[in-house]
Amino acid sequence: MISIKNLHAGIEEKEILKGFSLDIKAGEIHAIMGPNGTGKSTLASTLAGRNTYEVTAGEVQFNGKDLLDMEADERAREGLFLAFQYPVEIPGVSTTNFMRAAIAEKRKHHGLPPMEAKEFLALMREKMALVEIDKQFMSRSLNEGFSGGEKKRNEIFQMAMLNPLLSILDETDSGLDIDALRIVANGVNKLRTKDNAFLIITHYQRLLEYIVPDFVHVMYEGRIVKSGGKELALELEEKGYDWIKEENIVQ
């Protein structure tokens, strides 16, 4: 689904990703863990196409296309979704209208007519239930005045609505209480199919108790330094990140 090779990227003059490589196949869940400041969020933003990050080397194939050749909006319409660590508030724009516009654009991109209003509302209802969001949130301004947990649930709701091929969750678990965490994880588990994939960026092992990854990668100084199965997450939880740092200094 996505193949990242030797990706170098940074902000202004500072290189943050230093030769990041990773392959994700359809049906897989990958987790990326690592200490603060190792470039996890930079990876998420760079893949999503944020202009403030500059790619200096490497290549990324997404579903058979050159990802780096596309603008952020085209990447999204091609099926890449980023659940933001800090979702943005847009005053005066309801979640309903926002989603209606986003879905219409995606469908147009794939040569489909706009969704019938009835079908759209049914989809909304189904996905609201999935993330246990009350319908009053749908008419409120997007993320405005939402609590941290509500914002994250709203991200998962949007993900469910847009039905992406690859979903990147950027520290979606940070700041969530145990109930919200369960709801978010539950949403991801229900959305998982053999045709889509997830890249879960997290700091803690906690989320991975609910979403069981096929692969866990440890990121340090802008690239993956260790990969393993779900047990690697437990090991990290137990031993912390210091041994990773030491290992990499020795190398």
Binding site: D73, V93, P114
Partner: protein, 482 residues
């Protein structure tokens, strides 16, 4: 709504000013320049009674002694008032009884503007007065309105048919000597709309005037007068466009509203005069005096304006809250792009007890434009327990555009309560990226963010107008992020 959105997107892809054509209509003009003879010509051409001519001439005398104001935050070269043609009208001005008798070129013009007269009349149930250059062309739905006692006609007709109302109210809210352009208008106004809603009548449909400048080198000086008798209600809409021309054209209108006890007037404007090209060449100077007098107790006047056009917009729709417990409202969206300038806002003059006013202003500046909000809240000594709430938000689309806020607050009564909030924001990279990440292009992202920003104002507009306003905003802001 989905289809509307698609249409908006399609329209946005060709962001040229679409209303910039002119029509080959056989017209008659006054000689260029301004003098007593020209005023006599206009008055005579309109068959006016002697008292009206006298009124015009006294306004002209007053105007000659006045000076052009200089305090506004806009710049333009000195206007040569002798270079303007003050009257242009279709040569044929027969009495028109039905739409079929309308000059086909005029029909075509309105069709091109996307407001087919017949269709609009049939579908929307909106009564429309069409004003081209100096003359009212046609008013729809007259007879149905007459059944309710509502008078909706051109002001020229009203001068002839309802002189008692004109004598009583014309110039009663905006006096002849009020300001330089109001005096000029009083001297040379050629047409405009007149509305009278009798006691206790709720006007059964929206009333609307569509203004169109067609002729070259002409100024448009229309005058609108709306009177709402006790307990009556009317919603009035105003739209306007003009052809693309390299020269600036002057539009100096006067609008007067009067509400008696328990009456309400809701006045909505979508202003889309030609704004000039990308380099600031051409465009309309829109210097307008709009004022409402809440004369009666518990009466209400509400102004809603969406200003996207004109090279320079300079106007302050105001409310004089004379009646106790009367209410004034002002909702405004002003968009400027390229080299457009806007200095707009409102005045809320509290005189009566328990009077309330609300101001919501949204300014959007793109390109190299300058956008100013200027508002005055004046609480007189007599205005016990007056209350004002003002909110002025500005959004900058580029680093080289400007937003300015000039609030003037003058309180003479200690029981008054005045609240003012103001914000300025640059359209954020984080907001745009968030929208991009959901599949929206920059243009669509701007559209959705700006519409959200203006929501409080748009919700005050009648439905069809709100859709039109959204389209205009999108077209005005095409390629504006920088």
């Amino acid at each position: 709504m989905l289809q509307d959105n698609d249409k908006i997107l399609e329209d946005a892809t060709n962001s040229e000013y679409k209303w910039g054509f002119s029509s080959p209509i056989d017209q008659e003009f006054a000689t260029k320049g301004l003098n007593e003879e020209v005023i006599r010509f206009i008055s005579g051409r309109k068959d006016e009674p002697a008292w009206m001519l006298e009124w015009r001439l006294s306004a002209f005398e007053a105007w000659k002694k006045m000076k052009q104001p200089k305090w506004q935050n806009v710049t333009f070269p000195e206007i040569d008032f002798q270079e303007i043609i003050y009257y242009a009208a279709t040569r044929k001005k027969p009495t028109i009884n039905s739409l079929d008798e309308l000059d086909p070129e005029i029909r075509k013009t309105y069709d091109k503007l996307g407001i087919p007269i017949k269709e609009q009349e049939m579908l929307a149930g909106v009564a429309v007065d069409y004003v081209m250059d100096s003359e009212s062309v046609f008013t729809t739905f007259k007879s149905q309105l007459a059944e309710k006692g509502v008078i909706f006609c051109s002001i020229s007709e009203a001068i002839k048919d309802h002189p008692e109302l004109i004598k009583k109210y014309l110039g009663s809210v905006v006096p002849v000597r009020d300001n330089y352009y109001a005096a000029l208008n009083a001297a040379v106004f050629s047409d405009g709309s007149f509305v009278y809603i009798p006691k206790g009548v709720r006007c059964p449909m929206e009333l609307s005037t569509y203004f169109r400048i067609n002729a070259e080198n002409t100024g448009q000086f229309e005058r609108t007068l709306i009177i709402a008798e006790e307990g009556s209600y009317v919603s009035y809409l105003e739209g306007c466009t003009a052809p693309k021309r390299d020269e600036h054209q002057l539009h100096a209108a006067v609008v007067e509203l009067i509400t008696l006890d328990d009456a309400e007037i809701k006045y909505s404007t979508v202003q889309n005069w030609y704004p000039g090209d990308k380099n600031g060449k051409g465009g309309i100077y829109n210097f307008v005096t709009k004022r409402g007098l809440c004369h009666g107790k518990r009466s209400k006047i509400s102004w809603t304006q969406v200003e996207t056009g004109s090279a320079i917009t300079w106007k302050y729709p105001s409310c004089v809250l004379k009646g106790d417990n009367s209410i004034g409202e002002f909702y405004s969206v002003a968009v400027t792009n390229n080299f457009q300038q806007a200095d707009t806002g409102t005045k809320m003059i509290h005189i009566g007890k328990n009077t309330r006013s609300r101001i919501v202003s949204k300014g959007i500046s793109a390109g190299s434009s300058q956008n100013s909000y200027r508002g005055q809240v004046k609480i007189h000594k007599t205005a016990e327990n007056a209350y004002n709430y003002s909110q002025c938000d500005s959004m900058l689309m580029t680093d080289h555009s400007g937003a300015h806020t000039f609030p003037y607050i003058d309180v003479k009564n200690s029981t008054a309560k005045v609240e003012h909030e103001a914000t300025t924001s640059k359209i954020g990279e984080d907001m745009l990226f968030y929208c991009n990440q959901r599949g929206l292009s920059d243009e669509e992202a701007v559209n959705i963010i700006v519409n959200g920003f203006c929501k409080e104002v748009f919700k005050e507009l009648p439905m069809e107008f709100a859709v039109e306003a959204q389209k205009l905003l999108q077209i005005s802001l095409e390629n504006s992020v920088g």
